[in-house]
């Protein structure tokens, strides 16, 4: 029975990992392509969760799954156009500061519009209940989340590795100068990368609204975790981020079971351990401009 319980915790950890992955992938892409450390990424996640509450009222959960990421993606275009674009050639530290300020503004704005109290968010009725797989019992909704995350990540992988768009983006991560010499402007690609990144963060907000609590500081809370995932996984590597997200998720899931108080501390310790052994993260590549 103990083993069964542990396995359940591992599956819950995988779901948690999927949730981190939705944020960390966008963060890692924006970071690798544009050299921007987007500390306001969590704000888009929180915005997704809040907007979803409104959209669900009028259109239901299924529609919110598509509409909310699109809405946040549109905001992402403005974000790229008016803010990020100024900082591509500047020191990464400046973008770190400016997006931190933006996260502060966004959190306060959420507080002003929806109030500081946590808002209840109902689980969509069709996903209530559990599924029994042999001896294991899993929440239907969590399995649904895992499936969505796998689909989204599959899509991003195909986009990055099987299309000409992805080839340019991957080249841009490694050798932006060389891409420029070949006569390709990276800027239009960056808009798409930012939109993809913030839309998947918003999707995370939509999916996790029903099982997490929707409150103004939710973005800040998830932010540091997402960065831990990116740092453990290593920059510029798709599989590194995937591996790190699930690793962090499982480590947290299992420590929540054995030592609940240490579940947050565990991932930071994991990060320090990884960085001691592999300074560029698990599968990270050497990228000159971030050294």
């Amino acid at each position: 029975m103990e083993i069964v319980y542990l396995l359940e915790q591992i599956v819950n950890g995988l779901v948690l990992g999927g949730y981190y992955l939705l944020l960390a992938m966008g963060l890692s892409l924006i970071f690798s392509v544009g050299g921007i450390v987007n500390l306001s990424h969590g704000a888009f996640y929180a915005l997704g969760a809040y907007l979803s509450l409104e959209v669900i009222k009028y259109a239901g959960f299924g529609a919110s799954l598509f509409i909310t990421p699109v809405l946040v993606g549109l905001i992402g275009i403005a974000f790229e156009r008016f803010l990020l674009r100024r900082f591509y050639t500047a020191d990464p530290i400046l973008s770190l500061l400016v997006t931190f300020g933006l996260a502060m503004v966004a959190e306060q704005a959420l507080r002003m519009i929806w109030g500081s109290a946590p808002l209840p968010s109902g689980m969509p009725p069709q996903f209530k209940g559990n599924v029994m797989l042999g001896e294991f019992m899993f929440s239907k909704y969590r399995l649904f989340i895992l499936a969505v995350v796998i689909c989204v990540m599959g899509g991003i992988w195909l986009l990055l590795h099987k299309t000409s768009f992805g080839r340019v983006v991957r080249a841009g991560i490694q050798k932006p100068d060389m891409v420029a010499v070949l006569g390709i402007r990276l800027q239009p690609y960056m808009v798409t990368v930012v939109v993809l990144g913030v839309a998947s963060a918003a999707l995370g907000g939509v999916l996790f609204g029903p099982i997490a609590i929707v409150h103004p500081a939710m973005g800040t809370e998830i932010m540091t975790v997402a960065f831990v995932v990116v740092v453990i996984g290593g920059l510029g590597s798709f599989w590194g981020v995937v591996l790190a997200a699930f690793l962090v998720g499982v480590v947290r899931g299992v420590t929540t079971h054995f030592a609940p108080a240490a579940s947050e501390a565990s991932m930071y310790i994991l990060m320090f351990l990884v960085l001691m052994l592999r300074p560029r993260g698990l599968l990270g590549e050497r990228i000159e401009r971030f050294e």
Binding site: R86, G101, M104, M190, M223, A261, E264, F290
Partner: protein
């Protein structure tokens, strides 16, 4: 007299005049003496941070960790070992923060640039997780209460004025100490590291050791400020270790001006005045402060970019056109 007013010592006498005038100005605009004390404490913390950010070029996103650790160390020392004393808890707090910063700095200074910032961010989040969750040691959410200021010889520190004077004297000592540091050969090596780490290495400086020492000094000074705030509020709280507070400290440094010796102190004053005056009218003062901060970085990025550009352009291997 002319010797003291020598322009060479200007930051010192400007600082001294401000420390004397501050309580009167605060009370003049209807704020309490404790607000003046907090301004001085935050100024100490911000100047400690600036030794790392402005002078060494290492942007720490986790200095609230040191602020909190210094505070908790002083609080725990007083509660468990030195009942009702103030000097020994301070001494313990300084020693403890410095030792811990030495170990942590050794580990996280292996990485530079953005990675260093992210590591300090994680350090800060880790400290918050510990201080918030390890209830038996840190009191968790409620914090550690029951701290006594006690007295220093015949001076009773429970009076607001006496505690301000103590803080101001410590603040002035920190000012003098930091001025000596940044004008010493050591301080100039730090600036050389900021401008171009590679060239500093070629000059034969053991940059790792210089950065580590700068990190330890910076953390210890910020920890000292944390201990002062614990005795001011008679409470060590987990709020002082949040990432948000780290960002606020950085905002003070950036807004005040990281390349000016007294800039961070000015930033601390600005931050507190902004908070106190705006929170009278609106609960959302952080929104406006955030907007000011973002606007400041966007529109005066040229100044900030000064050192950033120098660092990028002087290392041809790292040059890039960006997207």
């Amino acid at each position: 007299m002319t010797k003291i007013l020598n322009p060479h010592h200007r930051p010192l006498w400007v600082g001294a005049i401000c420390l004397v005038l501050l309580p009167f100005c605060m009370q003049g605009i209807g704020l309490t003496l404790d607000v003046a004390t907090v301004v001085v404490i935050l100024a100490i913390a911000a100047m400690g941070l600036n030794l790392l950010v402005g002078y060494t070029g290492l942007v720490s996103f986790g200095h609230s960790a040191w602020f909190g650790i210094g505070g908790y160390a002083a609080a725990l020392a007083q509660l468990h070992w030195f009942k009702d004393q103030i000097v020994l808890p301070f001494a313990f707090s300084l020693l403890f923060t410095a030792t811990l910063a030495l170990v942590v700095g050794y580990l996280i200074l292996r990485r530079r640039g953005v990675y260093f910032s992210l590591l300090t961010l994680a350090l800060c989040a880790l400290t918050f997780a510990i201080s918030f969750r390890w209830t038996s040691l840190t009191g968790g959410e409620g914090g550690l209460g029951g701290i006594e200021r006690g007295s220093l010889g015949p001076i009773d520190l429970n009076s607001h004025l006496n505690y301000y004077i103590l803080t101001a004297v410590i603040g002035f000592a920190v000012l003098w100490f930091l001025l000596r540091i940044v004008r010493s050969p050591f301080g100039h090596v730090l600036v050389a590291i900021r401008e171009n780490q590679q060239r500093a290495t070629f000059q034969g400086y053991d940059i790792d050791r210089y950065k580590l020492l700068a990190f330890v000094l910076s953390a210890t000074i910020t920890g000292l400020a944390g201990a002062l705030v614990v005795f001011l509020h008679r409470l060590a709280a987990a709020e002082s270790t949040t990432v948000a507070f780290s960002g606020e400290l950085l905002a003070m440094v950036v807004i005040g001006g990281m390349h000016n010796f007294l800039g961070p102190a000015l930033g601390a004053l600005f931050f507190l005045l902004f908070r106190e005056l705006f929170s009278m009218y609106t609960n959302n003062w952080l929104l406006y402060f955030g907007l000011v901060f973002v606007g400041f970085i966007i529109f005066s990025a040229q100044d900030l970019r000064g050192f950033a550009a120098a660092r990028v352009s002087s290392a041809p291997t790292r040059g890039r056109n960006g997207p």
